[in-house]
């Protein structure tokens, strides 16, 4: 990759450089035994089945027992922390990274020429880069220390934001509800199984979450997309009206997206000031993130003990096989620390949650805690992303520049229109959505495709600046036995903890959606009077969307599902999972608002169990 990639802010980096991270890191690590820990850790994984009353580093002190330990402070963990603290429970939150300081770490309002590498970051770091979201603006937030591996044939990208707030610091903000078309998809098309939760049950939680975070959209009455309660939508830009006219001709919907970005002040949070490029972090908190919206509320209760730079290692197990606490690595001292609680919430993000649970081996749980079904880490799903079409709109060539990029790709969307009446009307089952994007961006990335040089070249860049458009697909993979994560039997991270190993390939169904979207988007661009210049040769690699789901799926049958319909582990009743790993699949919608809604529901179930006296001190 050359510095061409200002495009790298938003665009793929070549596979080669991407892979050198994963492969290079594990190889490097294996070849350098010295890189093991500077300080030797107590090997507590072999200390199986002990009670929480022995082997404690705090043996001489009175041992504090929290009500709940929450691993992770992203969407799922943040919602759990807030809900539990407000209910009066004493919560210890464990976060793998540090707190971001908006004044120092949120650099968005710096201009590229104020950044050492113009926002591109040090070229020497390129082999480590996680791609478009990992740049000079956000680099402080990504975890580059903990490697992972991939099985032969698998490609996977796994950006982990370990800062407090996790990926909500930078997320894309699209916030559509799942509907019965998603939750009961199996009943419609016969593939896989239904979710154990109906839309009627989860709907009130979505409503409460929307009120908490503020979502800008309109009521759209579409069968694939239940409506919620919304702030005023973003106004359409010139390119939206043009593409909408094209969509109307083709018979495809083009509507305001559900965007969790405040078009007006909301619940004490300021309105957006429409400066754009929100995925580098908003330093006024005008879109939802847990550090701005949830954690302050939790901290105000004085019931929260937030431990940062605390890398969760495993869930501790008590005499009865129940969760007794969590062991973590203090990344500053390199020491292992144990904390104890009456219940544990795992919300470390899909793959990391499963990794922690698989690493929680004991005499009760030889294959990982709560894994009697053998399904822990299985059923991994992800969103296929890719550029279905790109080109430009001649109508806008030579126009004055326009602030098109005030919400990136979340102003408008083309919500799922396939397989609505009949689940088998297309050559694939289920459906996908498309996010259109374009206009005046932070950088004229199209310039490198123009010909020539000199004054005409410079003039052409200015003329074309308002005109580029592109279409990005978001398509769900189907559950499969061959897509999963497990622990690498050999490779360990620098703290001696086995790393995650990914096994994943796009299925035939999702690749059919990709082909389908290329045809439809080209047709839409043509109908809109645009010029098609191409499309992504291949979809992005798995992991790119950051929307992985499914490693601890919820279901009523303990033989086939890790968690019950409330996200509570079947095997271990005081262990709860509050992230997208409980989802049965990833649908055509983004995951964050659903993580919030399901986490709220799980947290209230947990509180209810405390009230009923089901969770007691170990």
């Amino acid at each position: 990759m050359t510095i061409r990639s200002m495009r790298m802010w938003r665009r793929p980096i070549p596979d080669k450089s991407r892979w050198s991270f994963v492969v290079g890191r594990s190889r490097w690590w294996l070849a350098n035994p010295k890189t093991k820990l500077p300080v030797k850790l107590n090997d507590r994984t072999s200390d199986q089945g002990r009670t929480t009353n022995d082997a404690s580093p705090l043996k001489t002190m009175p041992k504090q027992i929290y009500d709940v330990i929450v691993i992770g402070t992203g969407a799922g963990g943040g919602m759990a922390i807030k809900t539990l603290c407000e209910a009066g429970l004493k919560v210890c939150a464990i976060n793998a990274g540090r707190r971001l300081d908006p004044e120092k770490d949120f650099r968005y309002h710096r201009m590229p020429w104020d950044m050492k590498f113009r926002g591109l970051d040090d070229p020497k770091r390129r082999s480590e880069s996680f791609g478009y979201m990992d740049n000079e603006y956000t680099k402080a937030a990504w975890d580059h220390e903990i490697p992972f591996t991939v099985a032969p044939g698998t490609k996977w990208m796994w950006p982990r934001c370990n800062a407090v707030g996790g990926k909500t610091n930078f997320w894309g903000r699209s916030s559509a509800r799942f509907g019965d078309i998603d939750l009961r998809a199996a009943s419609r098309d016969g593939y896989d199984v239904d979710w154990p939760v109906t839309y009627e049950e989860i709907s009130p939680f979505y409503t409460r979450v929307e009120k908490m975070i503020g979502v800008a959209s309109t009521v759209q009455n579409r069968p694939s997309n239940p409506d919620g309660s919304y702030l005023p939508p973003f106004n359409f830009r010139c390119l939206d009206f043009i593409l909408q006219a094209g969509c109307n001709k083709v018979g495809v919907p083009y509507l305001p997206d559900r965007c969790a970005q405040l078009t007006q002040p909301h619940e004490g949070h300021p309105a957006c000031h429409f400066c754009g490029e929100c995925t580098t972090g908003c330093d006024v908190g005008a879109f939802f993130s847990t550090p701005y919206f949830l954690l302050p509320k939790a901290e105000a209760t004085k019931n929260l003990d937030l431990r940062t730079n605390a890398l969760a290692k495993n869930v501790l197990v008590g005499e009865n096989g129940h969760a007794a606490g969590v062991a973590y690595i203090d990344r500053k001292t390199k020491q292992e620390v144990e904390v104890y609680s009456r219940a544990v919430v795992v919300a470390a993000s899909c793959i990391e949650s499963a990794r922690i649970m698989l690493n929680s081996k004991s005499r009760y749980w030889p294959n990982g805690i709560a894994n009697s079904s053998g399904q822990l880490g299985r059923n991994l799903c992800d969103h296929l992303y890719g550029e279905s079409a790109r080109g430009y709109l001649p109508q806008l060539v030579g126009q004055p520049s326009f602030p098109d990029h005030v919400a990136d790709s979340t102003i408008a969307w083309m919500p799922r229109w396939q397989n609505l009446k009949d689940p088998h009307e297309e050559k694939f089952i289920r459906g996908y959505s498309v996010y259109p994007d374009g206009g005046c961006e932070e950088f004229p990335w199209f310039a490198n495709d123009l010909d020539g040089f000199g004054s005409l070249f410079k003039r052409e860049i200015k003329r074309r600046y308002p005109s580029p458009v592109s279409f990005g697909i978001q398509a769900p993979s189907l559950r499969s036995d061959t897509n999963f994560m497990d622990l690498d039997p050999e490779v360990k991270d620098p703290y001696g903890i086995p790393v995650a190993r990914l096994h994943f390939e796009w299925d035939e169904n999702v690749l059919k959606m990709w082909e389908h979207s290329k045809h439809v988007c080209a047709e839409v661009l043509h109908a809109a009077g645009g010029v098609l210049e191409g499309s992504g040769q291949n979809p992005e690699i798995p992991g790119w969307s950051l929307h992985e789901t499914g490693t601890c799926r919820m279901g009523n049958d303990p033989k086939n599902f890790v968690t019950n319909r409330f996200g509570q582990a079947h095997d271990v009743p005081n262990l709860y999972v509050c992230d997208a790993s409980v989802f049965l699949n990833c649908t055509d919608k983004t995951t964050t608002i659903s993580i919030l809604a399901f986490s709220l529901r799980t947290s209230e179930h947990l509180i209810e169990n405390f009230r009923r006296g089901e969770h007691k001190a170990a």
Partner: protein, 204 residues
């Protein structure tokens, strides 16, 4: 449209998140160039720039190439934006591209001596332009010049990147990121959703 047009820097100050300018070699000249609008300021020449990676003769060629790719015409170009210094800094930080730049420049000089008997920087502006045309325009491509075309393409990418990430480049495009807005900006052409007549109206 409710563009309040507050300059981004103003808001930055208001928010109290003042940007700390980075200090590193090569930065002073381009901030110098960016910080002052108009040529008067540029007449006070900063101290001679000492390239971090390129030799002085190489750097002279990089400067010329950048100026030819994005010239100073009705608006400031690569020269005013300090693009050559940016390229030198990026290449000095990036061992993976150093070889390509060095061999590319060597190829260009050898080619220039073949054609005109002089090194590239010694040519007249017309000679330089006509030497580069087969490298920069697809329909003027000549066989046997692949190395030169590849180098020129890379040089053009670096120049475009350096120019349009500078304040001068932002102003050249009237980049909307220079402003904040009180309300969600809205298309002003309500009577023409397909924008079929907008282009004519503007060009006419």
């Amino acid at each position: 449209m409710a563009g309040q047009g507050i300059r981004r820097r103003e808001v930055l100050r208001i928010l109290g998140t003042a940007a700390a300018a980075a200090h590193f070699p090569g930065f002073s000249k381009w901030t110098f160039a960016c910080g002052h609008v108009g040529n008067a300021a540029l007449q006070i020449k900063p101290a001679m720039y000492h390239p971090q990676f390129f030799t002085l003769p190489e750097f002279g060629a990089i400067e010329r190439l950048a100026e030819i790719i994005i010239p100073s015409d009705a608006t400031p170009g690569a020269k005013e934006a300090g693009v050559a210094e940016f390229i030198d800094f990026m290449v000095s930080s990036d061992p993976e591209v150093q070889y390509s730049f060095r061999t590319g420049l060597a190829w260009l000089n050898a080619h220039s001596e073949d054609v005109n008997g002089k090194r590239f920087v010694q040519l007249t502006q017309e000679q330089q332009t006509s030497l580069l045309e087969p490298l920069g325009f697809k329909d003027k491509t000549r066989p046997g010049e692949e190395t030169g075309r590849k180098f020129f393409r890379m040089m053009r990418e670096y120049t475009v990147t350096g120019f349009y990430t500078s304040e001068i480049g932002y102003k050249e495009l009237d980049n909307p990121a220079l402003k904040f807005y009180a309300e969600s900006p809205e298309c002003p052409h309500h009577d023409d959703p397909e924008h079929a007549h907008v282009a004519q109206a503007h060009s006419g």
